[in-house]
Every structure is written in structure tokens, then in C-alpha cells.
Symmetry: C2
Subunit: 202 residues, 2 copies
DNA sequence: GCAGAATGTGAGGGTGTCCTCATCTTTGTC
DNA sequence: GACAAAGATGAGGACACCCTCACATTCTGC
């Protein structure tokens, strides 16, 4: 970012620009989106956009980063709440997790739109992978709580595939009709549960 | 397509253009790819590219269509071979299916590259969905053979999520280190098997 | 209420790509 | 081998978008 806003007016403008970028990129895709269009939607001038971001791609990346941060913080909040509760079953945790991320996708339709089917830099892909990795690592810790004797390597790959599957299927589900999506999410829970029951004790 | 080639020379040129497009789009993405660059890689002139395709996006779509056809025909060939063999277990069929599609991804790296993280038209997304749907429908028939009493609606959603999961996780696996990918594929089989065993008889 | 810092503006320069078309080359047929 | 049809070529027109920068406006501390 070129300039970090200090005044309130500027902070709001930056927020408006990011929101506008979110909308435009979601609607028409990275290429078709023009910086002029984004400025217009943000009710500001093209010059202001370039006050904050050195170029179009930096604007897009900032937007993606914002989504990644939101996703990760959602997961952290969820875990905090869970560990505080008096040890529920792991299947309950899985269900809650899936529900929470499903809500995330539904509430923030731009997330899928900007993340999939856009030109994403290798750097950004790595950032996305890192978030999934971080989530998987935390998930592995939860698994360790329920099954301390399962070897670490086994836990690692299991956590990884569970996180990736949930992530991938939710991405698919967003595109379906609401009814079909609901059923997909239900079956996703079922699948993850039956897989994990081969590893974790009931 | 603007012109369908009748002479052999022309057919080969068209093939070269599609192959070049495959490479360039894979390497740099849809936007960054230029039609001039594609023509050069195909060892032909820009004019020839536009003899066959009305514009850049039509070229890209033709490329995607070629991949979809290849994927679907792979599945059909696989099923033909399977039904001819004397009724193996369903878990064997699942494993073979996953292996075959994994090879497809590995052998045709361009498939993932052009399909994910590119600007794909809604029309093309629908085409991709249609292929997955078609595969799911055939998978459902196979399930019907092993579990005739499971209600149709249940079979449908199960087939759908299995196909989507396999498709999604293989897309993820391609990006991993070979070792990690191998483990992911192995766990994918495990997951699908344990899910299906809640539906199909052993 | 004033100086100066911070912020905002938008017309236009520069760049690069898509695609056309007039012209040339190859292929097939009699 | 001559003629027509099919195929191939690539310089350049047209267009659209990114980004700059000189100037205007707003804010802040004194």
C-alpha cells in the first residue's frame, strides 16, 4: 500500500474503495473490472484509488488478504469458544465448523467470486494455502486431544484432507440451488464424520 | 468456430494452435496470454488464428471444451471396461476411478491450469457442471447395481458429493509435492470408501 | 483564522493488445 | 499447366485501459 490513512475521512474512503472493488471484481472478474469503474462505485476519483494502491493488482491482493484474515479469524474465534465449552464430541465440533464456514461463504459471496476463477498470483495462492495449513494445524491439535495415540503423521494428513475437503465442497455448494446446497452440506458432514470415525474413537 | 478445415494442412495447423493455446494459457493465464504469442508458439501467423476463431475467448472456450470431452470419454471408457469384467467390488471401482482421474490430471497439467484461476464464462462453467452431472448420473447407476433398495434421491446426492469431492481434491492434490499428493490421493480413497460404506453393502 | 500538511481530483499521455484485410501462397481439378 | 478455391500472412487501425501529475480542496494544530 502506498499510503496509510491517518484521518477518518481517508480511512472511510479506503474502506469504500475495497468494498467497491469487492463488488466489481465479483461481478465481472479481474480483467473486465476497470479501476475507473471501481472508483466510480466507491464514489471517489481514480486518483484516490492510486493514492492507496500502486496498481490494480495490489488492490485486488489487498481485497483477497482481507478475506483470508476474516476466514482465519472466524476459525480462531470458533476454536476459542469450543475449548471453553466442556469437551463436546468431535463430531459436534466438525458439524459446527462446517456450519460456520458455510455461513461465511453465504454471507460473503464475494469471497468465492474473487478467489475462484480469477487470475490469482502465485504469491496469493501461497497465502491461501498458508491459511488452510494453519487451520489444518489447529485441527490436528484438536484431533490430538481426542486420539493421543494416533501417530502425528497420520493426524497431519487426516487434518489436511478434512480441511481441504470442507473448503472445496463448500466452494462447490455455493454455486448450487439453496436446496441442493443444504443437502450437499449435510452429506459433507456425513462424509467427514464417517472418515474421521475410522481414526478417532467414538 | 469460423472455418472448419478441410485440407490436412489446415487440420494440423488448427491442432497446433490449440496446443499452443493450451501451453500459453497454462503458463501465464488468460489475460496475460496474447493471441500473437499463441500464433508464434504454434509457428503460424496471427491471421491464421483468426481464420479459425472469431476472437480470443472463443479460442479459450474451444480449448476448455476439448478438455471436457477428454475427461468424459475417459470416464466412459473406464465404465465400459468395468462392466465387462466380472463384477468387482465397488471399492475397487472407486479406487480405479480415482487412479484414472489422477493420471488424467498428472498427464494433462494444462487442464487444471486453464480451468481454475482463469476467467471462465458462465456458459463454460455450466458445461463443466454438466460433465460432472453426467458422470454423477452414471455413478448413480453403478450404485444402483450394488444397492438397489437405497432410495433414488439418496443415491443421487451421494453420487453427486462423491464425484464433486474426487474432482475437488484431485484439483488440490495436483498443486502439492508428489509425495504429499500421493498421500492425499490415498486418503481420498479412504474417505470416499468409508462414506460409501455407510450406504452400500460390503 | 491561518499556514502547511494531508487528501482528493480527473483529463490525458502512454502503452499494449485485439482483430482486419489486402495481398500472397498452396492445393486440387480438368 | 492453368485456373479457381482454399489457406496463410503480418503490418497497422482502432480501441480501451492503466496510471500520472498538476492543481484543488479539506483538515489540523496553533
Amino acid at each position: 500500500m502506498r499510503r496509510v490513512p491517518t484521518q477518518e475521512r481517508s480511512r472511510q474512503r479506503l474502506e469504500r474503495i475495497l468494498d467497491a472493488a469487492d463488488q466489481i471484481f465479483s461481478e465481472v472478474g479481474y480483467d473486465a473490472a476497470t479501476t475507473e469503474q471501481i472508483a466510480e462505485r466507491a464514489e471517489t476519483s481514480i486518483g484516490s484509488v492510486y493514492q492507496f494502491f500502486p496498481n490494480k493488482s495490489a488492490l485486488f491482493e489487498a481485497l483477497c488478504q482481507r478475506y483470508l484474515e476474516r476466514a482465519q479469524s472466524l476459525f480462531e474465534r470458533l476454536l476459542e469458544r469450543t475449548t471453553l465449552a466442556d469437551s463436546p464430541s468431535w463430531s459436534k465440533i466438525v458439524d459446527d465448523m462446517i456450519d460456520a464456514f458455510w455461513s461465511f461463504h453465504v454471507d460473503q459471496p464475494g469471497f468465492r467470486a474473487v478467489w475462484v476463477h480469477q487470475n490469482i498470483s502465485a504469491q496469493l495462492i501461497a497465502a491461501g494455502d498458508a491459511v488452510n495449513q494453519a487451520i489444518a494445524t489447529r485441527a490436528e491439535e484438536v484431533m490430538a486431544f481426542f486420539a493421543p495415540d494416533v501417530p502425528r503423521s497420520k493426524r497431519r494428513i487426516a487434518a489436511s484432507i478434512v480441511v481441504e475437503t470442507i473448503s472445496a465442497i463448500l466452494f462447490v455448494a455455493v454455486r448450487r440451488e439453496p436446496d441442493e446446497a443444504k443437502r450437499l452440506v449435510a452429506e459433507l458432514k456425513q462424509m467427514v464424520r464417517s472418515y474421521l470415525s475410522t481414526i478417532l474413537p467414538a
